[in-house]
């Protein structure tokens, strides 16, 4: 069983207030259409670095909850970041991996270990406080509030199939406007 990515993100968005959210690549385009907010941090640059940016934000702003919406392909490129985050142990960091088994932004080729890699087990072994896997929308809707209420770092996979193709506006993602808007909003949120 899997969820549609956009539907899972809509459920999550209902539980996200003024949190900082770090969505990566294809998920980022879905997310910013669902949650229009200047505290979306979409400028992670190189693939795989989303979790590292999220760690920096969590350490730099311990008063804010930081939610990273990672990709499975992205996390595989920066798997060590699980251990780094487990070691730093920020209580305000929530790490989701939107797991579709592919490098969707690069032609939907399968990730290595597709269907075999157990990301929650990896996260627990790396030192996260809790980990879960969600593959059913109703169950995610029911349990997400309790999941988010735990002290971090916590981890969960959202096992999804692609929804409608988002608008891949890379110019917006990498342009200066989102960076300036984020910085201004973060400073105003003190």
């Amino acid at each position: 069983m899997t969820m549609r990515r956009d539907e899972a993100l809509r459920v999550l968005a209902r539980h996200v207030g003024d949190d900082i959210v770090v969505p990566v690549f294809t998920t980022a385009f879905d997310w910013i259409a669902i949650r229009k907010h200047p505290l979306n941090y979409i400028m992670v640059g190189a693939m795989g670095l989303g979790s590292s940016h999220a760690l920096g934000l969590a350490l730099g702003r311990p008063d804010k909850r930081v939610i990273v919406l990672d990709g499975d392909g992205s996390l595989l490129m920066n798997l060590g970041s699980l251990v780094t985050i487990g070691d730093a142990a920020p209580k305000n960091l929530v790490h989701f991996v939107v797991e579709n088994g592919t490098y969707e932004a690069n032609g939907s080729h399968p990730i290595p270990g597709r269907g075999r890699v157990d990301f929650p087990e990896l996260a627990m072994a790396a030192g996260y406080r809790a980990a879960a896997a969600f593959s059913d929308l109703a169950a995610f809707d029911k349990d997400v509030a309790a999941f988010l209420a735990q002290p971090g770092p916590v981890f969960a996979t959202l096992q999804v199939e692609p929804g409608p193709s988002p608008d891949f506006d890379y110019g917006h993602m990498h342009g200066p406007a989102v960076r300036q808007a984020f910085k201004a909003a973060l400073q105003a949120s003190r």
Binding site: V44, H53, S81, R179
Partner: protein
């Protein structure tokens, strides 16, 4: 005696002076990977220095993302690593540091550099290419060879944050504690 100290300062590099310069630069976060070139003289003393939060990363490009994010929080960071880690982080530095224009401050040990020999004149290919690569990327860089160069550190970090540009501080001499 003072004369002897003055002579010594021109030939050696002390980690404690680097640490003083880092502190004076307002840096409070140190993402780091150990480098045998700076291990005993710099990283180990840093572990017991108050006022610094060390973030032990598994791979150096993690530190690029961490430094970038901290800059949005108005927190200064310095990524401490070996030059091989800098070379391994080029793509992250390219987009996050250069294209996004963020103050990614890096301090990289030049392991095996010959004392007193400029990096681009080293017999080691891996060391010779470091500065030309940084220049091709438009990344400011400074060689810290002896105590006489330590004064470059604070202005370089300050400039990086004022201009929101990356900077690489290349540790040529192996620091004494």
């Amino acid at each position: 005696m003072a004369q002897v100290d003055a002579v010594a300062e021109t030939n050696v590099l002390h980690g404690r002076r680097i640490i003083e310069a880092i502190r004076a630069s307002g840096v409070s976060f140190i993402p780091c990977l150990p480098d045998i070139h700076t291990s005993e003289g710099l990283l180990r003393p840093l572990t017991s220095e108050p006022g610094f939060k060390l973030i032990r990363v598994c791979k150096e490009d993690e530190g690029i993302g961490i430094c970038a994010a901290l800059s949005y929080c108005d927190k200064r960071a310095l990524l401490l690593m070996q030059y091989s880690g800098l070379l391994d982080s080029i793509n992250a530095l390219r987009i996050v540091g250069v294209e996004y224009g963020l103050p990614i401050c890096m301090m990289a040990g030049l392991l095996n550099k010959e004392p007193g020999v400029p990096p681009r004149q080293s017999k080691h290919y891996s060391l010779r290419i470091v500065e030309p690569i940084l220049e091709a990327m438009g990344v400011a860089h400074h060689v810290i060879e002896t105590d006489a160069d330590v004064g470059k550190i604070q202005p370089a970090i300050e400039k990086a944050y004022v201009q929101s540009r990356p900077v690489a501080l290349l540790i040529g001499g192996s620091p004494l504690p």
